[in-house]
């Protein structure tokens, strides 16, 4: 379980939130604190007070994969191959093992054909897939995706969902503005003005959002 307790950071105030293993979608209006929450879960930012624990470890002691909402901010290296290999090289994994794991990861993410390309020349969606591959290559226990589906088409969003499942990552936390995607999650957290307003299964959360634009359109159409 990922446990957030008495958390305070900038305008974010969360007294208690438990995130179980599986896929959790964080939703809410722009500026509600979604990205701030995700950055605290990665350990990129530290809370002013309170705690985030992944099991019994702080985020900075856990293996975490992170995909930034701005595709260009994910990138450190020139080519796709070097970018995806970088988390392993930073960990001094052998060249042979790095090569094997990068190859498998590029295949998993459907971007093997891009391996020698300059990342700067790729489309926004392709950059996101490269960032996802780099986040997954070191088999993290927590994968955090900051609204990266806003740069993907429907087929790639579905493929991303499938590859996340296949990756076997214990915790996946994503923020999304696609309620159809959130409705497929194990858990949904609805933030507003820096506070968790709702959390629970998609059915529990969305039933409380009926009549708002956050209620999935397909659910409106079947009502």
């Amino acid at each position: 379980m990922i446990a957030l307790r008495s958390l305070r950071y900038r305008h974010l105030a969360i007294d208690a939130l438990d995130i179980p293993p599986g896929l959790t979608s964080v939703i809410g209006p722009n500026g509600s604190g979604k990205t701030t929450l995700l950055r605290l879960c990665t350990g990129i930012d530290l809370p002013e007070s309170g705690s985030v624990l992944i099991g019994d470890r702080s985020p900075r002691d856990a293996e975490i994969g992170w995909v930034n909402e701005f595709p260009d901010r994910n990138i450190l290296f020139e080519t796709v191959m070097d970018e995806v290999a970088s988390p392993l090289r930073f960990r001094s994994v052998s060249c042979t093992e790095t090569g094997d794991r990068v190859e498998r990861c590029l295949e998993l993410c459907g971007i093997r054909h891009l391996q020698d390309r300059s990342i700067r020349e790729l489309s926004g969606g392709e950059k996101i897939l490269v960032a996802v591959a780099a986040a997954l290559v070191h088999t993290p226990s927590v994968l955090i995706l900051d609204e990266c589906d806003s740069h993907l088409d429907a087929a790639r969003t579905a493929a991303l969902g499938q590859l996340i499942k296949r990756s076997g990552t214990e915790y996946v936390i994503q923020c999304t503005q696609q309620m159809e995607v959130a409705a497929q999650s194990d858990q949904v957290v609805y933030l507003d003005e820096g506070t968790v307003r709702l959390s629970g299964s998609p059915r529990e959360v969305f039933s409380r959002l009926s009549g708002t634009p956050f209620y999935p359109l397909s659910w409106r159409c079947r009502a």
Binding site: N30, F70, G124, D153, P213, F214, C221
Partner: protein
Amino acid sequence: MNLILNGVVANRGEGPGDWSVLADGIFSEGIHLVSGDVGSGKTTLAQVLAGLLVPASGTVARDGIMSVMLSFQFPEYQVTGLTVREECESWGVDPGDVLAAIRLSGRDAHSPLKLSRGELKRLHLACLLSHTYDLLILDEPFSSLDCSEKERVCQQLSERTTGITILFTHEQQTFPRVDYIWEIVNGQLVCRGRVPDALLSWQHAPELVRNLLAAGKCPENIAPGDLVGAACRT
């Protein structure tokens, strides 16, 4: 007023992962939706239509178009002000009115680049849509917007009654009412025609639209209200 594409070719290299888009056709007055997969060339084609890129071959001709605006997919590339106030003023709009409309009042002195991504997109679109243009091209205008904002922007776009508006997007849920649907398929820009007839051959149609069509409930258009209306039809 027309934007005329004659044998336009836009491309990215010739190696693996590269692509080329062939575009022929006429964008007339109205709202046009262009859909396509990631990496199919939507952004490059948008920049060619806006005159920011020169096509590899072919011509883009403007007939009666006196003003052009392109909204980039990533709004940070279009920021020129150091503060939110300066950014509004750079577009020639009153910061008080714009910021109140998009619920950002009191953020005047903040750096635009310190706003959340969705807030920056809201600011960018609010400034941009405060003006009228003969040709308005929007590259992924809905990315990063929350559901409420998507519906508000769609409503605003649906109300554009003059000029040519071209939306390049892979959005799958929230759309304005549109007049024409185009899509990039196998490296070629294809016009599917006027809505609702165009829905029948739209390969990138959202799942919900496909399900409605399969159930024999063709929506009048693709705005949320049209889809819910079609679903509720007996």
